[in-house]
């Protein structure tokens, strides 16, 4: 018998399910996991973009020439919820100017340019002293102040996500360590080298959302990372039992290994694997009582609560066939990518293309002057052999391979026809908005149709069309309201005139009588 969705969701992780489609890809992660995680050096300049989160760009709180300490707020954003950007190191503000900002559009944007003083001195930090007994709302506020956004790629402010989850009383927190895209190993390295931080962050997130259980999902091929994470988890649980802080009975943290298949790390795909449920279109995981957070986000949360440190650095994978010594670096936000590449032995002779993100979902950067941003999990350098000549696109032969691999169970070929012919409303009705842009359909298309590019294009066009429609509706309403108002005013004027005329007439008819 099928259980109602929410009850089935509560059984998350007890058995594993499958999601539709997906691809088994050669993961190429080992090349960047050979050398240990190390801290990137301080560059001569840091370029901190004002747009590093989902929403409108932040506005700067500092002026050129001002001295800042590491961790001081340098910009504030209002959209989608209020939050801050922080100085990644101590130094002086050189300028607030237009610079490359690692945006998928390739456009420049405003960045705070910092000249480090080399001391890397933190401002006064205020950790939450006893987080196990702190109010969940205090934890969420602190996480918001620390400028933490989803580090898995969506860069949506974490505090807003947590508040939504708390409002909807979630039962299960899922810590997403299933980093399925080839080449990227930053989450794996983080779990391997800083497992305790991840576990602490998971426990704090559980407290902040008041979830009953936490699942840490990792891939079955992450051997060493899994062992270290389990060891850290055992140590953490022994410790908290010893402290007697487990009185609330909510400290249920478990590790679940899922099979490696791309795009398993997608929030909706991972939930389907753990619960057998699809999150309905237009709804969020919290509607099923679930919340997903990336492992890197959990680690950042641990820093924010235990040490009071805002989000100023993250682990990034520098890898690919075009770089000499692929590695994972703990890099300050704003560090130019050229600087990171240099620390990994520099480019190979045949380096040909620079991508931010992985080979499936990443986007090309036009220059390595682009800086590290919160969303940057990987810098991938491909060589000439990886990149063939530009192939001509062939007509769709309706083979249906794309539909077979689509993890969102869409019909990519149909969507592609719709968008190509400008039938955006049809594309939307066929589920365009549910596309996660994973690139699986692209990958298998024998006609080499750039399907994902079409979907990105179609989504943006559709959004623009909706905006134009709502603007037109607003203008029509305002126009009609004005017409009504003018008509009413006119009628009033006419009435007044008529009254005046009437009284004048009456006076006139009386006046001749007076004369006689």
């Amino acid at each position: 018998m099928r259980l109602p969705a929410r009850e089935q969701a509560e059984l998350a992780g007890q058995r594993l399910y499958h999601f539709h489609g997906g691809l088994r890809l050669r993961h190429n992660k080992e090349v960047s996991c050979r050398s240990p995680l190390r801290r990137s050096r301080l560059p001569p300049r840091l370029y901190v973009p004002l747009l590093q989160h989902a929403g409108e760009p932040a506005s700067a709180l500092v002026v050129p020439g001002q001295l800042v300490l590491k961790g001081e707020a340098i910009a504030r954003f209002e959209q989608p919820v209020a939050g801050f950007l922080h100085a990644p190191t101590s130094g002086s503000i050189a300028a607030i100017a237009r610079h490359a900002i690692s945006h998928p559009s390739g456009q420049e944007g405003l960045a705070v340019i910092i000249r480090p003083d080399g001391r890397d001195q933190w401002c006064a930090l205020q950790p939450v002293v006893d987080w196990q007994t702190a109010e969940p709302i205090t934890l969420r506020q602190k996480i918001g102040e620390a400028g933490i956004v989803g580090l898995g790629g969506a860069v949506f402010p974490t505090s807003a996500k947590l508040s939504d989850a708390h409002d909807k009383t979630i039962h299960t927190l899922i810590i997403n360590g299933a980093e399925c895209e080839p080449w990227i190993s930053c989450d794996e390295m983080l779990m391997r080298e800083q497992a305790a931080r991840v576990i602490a962050g998971a426990a704090i997130l559980q407290r902040a959302t008041e979830a009953r259980q936490t699942l840490i999902a990792i891939e079955d091929q992450m051997g060493e990372a899994g062992e270290r994470l389990q060891a850290a988890l055992d140590a953490f649980q022994a410790n908290s039992r010893h402290d007697g802080r487990n009185a609330s009975g909510q400290e249920q943290i478990r590790m679940v290994k899922v099979t490696t298949i791309y795009p398993e790390g997608g929030e909706r795909q991972l939930i389907q694997v753990l619960t057998g449920l699809e999150v309905p279109a237009g709804q969020r995981p919290t509607d099923l009582g679930l919340l997903c957070q990336n492992v890197a986000t959990a680690a950042a949360v641990a820093d924010a609560i235990l040490e009071g440190k805002p989000l100023v650095e993250r682990v990034v994978t520098i890898t690919g066939s075009g770089v000499h010594q692929p590695a994972n670096l703990l890099a300050l936000l704003g560090t130019p990518i050229s600087d990171l590449i240099e620390q990994c032995g520099g480019y190979r002779q045949d380096a040909a293309r620079l991508l931010l993100g992985g080979p499936m979902m990443g986007y090309a950067l036009s220059s390595d002057a682009n800086p590290m941003i919160k969303a940057a999990n990987c810098v991938l350098v491909l060589n000439h052999a990886d990149i063939a000549a530009e192939h001509p696109e062939l007509p769709c032969i309706r083979c249906g391979e794309c539909a077979r691999v689509c993890p969102s169970i869409l019909l990519p070929q149909q969507l592609q026809w719709d968008i190509r012919n400008g039938l955006l409303a049809d594309a939307s009705a066929h589920g365009l908005d549910a596309c996660i842009e994973c690139g699986c359909c692209d990958f298998v298309c024998p006609s080499q149709i750039p399907l994902t590019q079409w979907f990105r294009f179609g989504k943006a066009q559709w959004q623009q069309q909706l905006q134009e429609q709502s603007a037109a509706t607003l203008a029509r309403q305002r126009f009609e309201a004005r017409e009504l108002r003018l008509a009413a005013a006119d009628q009033q004027r006419q009435q007044k005139l008529a009254q005046k005329r009437q009284s004048l007439k009456e006076r006139r008819s009386r006046q001749p009588g007076d004369e006689t």
């Binding site: 088994r24 050669r26 559009s105 456009q107 990149i387 294009f457 009609e480």
Partner: protein
Amino acid sequence: MSEQTWLALAWAVLSISALGIAMGLGLGWAARRFRVEADPVVEQINQLLPQTQCGQCGYPGCRPYATAIAAGEAEINQCPPGGSAGIKALADLLGREVLELNPQNGQEKPKAVAVIDEQVCIGCTLCIQACPVDAILGAAKQMHTVIESACTGCDLCLPPCPVDCISMVVRPPAITGWQPARPAMRVVAASRNAMRAGAG
């Protein structure tokens, strides 16, 4: 014919007529009871117009123009803000030929918003009266300003201004609203098949 035959015939005629009347009444009642307000063609045309309310078509607003099109008094190529896309949508709706925009009505240009130079504005309220969507805020001898989110860029506030303090500004799209380009050629990783480990 015998009496019986007549009777049978009368019955047949009567019963069929009764059935006909009953069904007719039923249909008549249903037609009233379940009547659907049809979307009049004027409304459908108005939906396709950009609602700029600029009057460049020669009619005082989008709805009057829609009414004129529906009545066959106006052509479908008189709306510059709607541009060629708007003309195509109208042609599709009405089953007419796609036409070029009539140059007498104006040129297609990017959407702009009115901006009042507040240093120069004398507070005469003439632009407020001209604005078809009430997007200008102000009062007599007070500074005026434009509500940008409501401005349709119709240019109607420009001619009445006695001190020429209003200018039309094209706002560059914000970076958050950038549009990815329409895909053209593609780049394929040659090692694409080598990347694949097995059937998914």
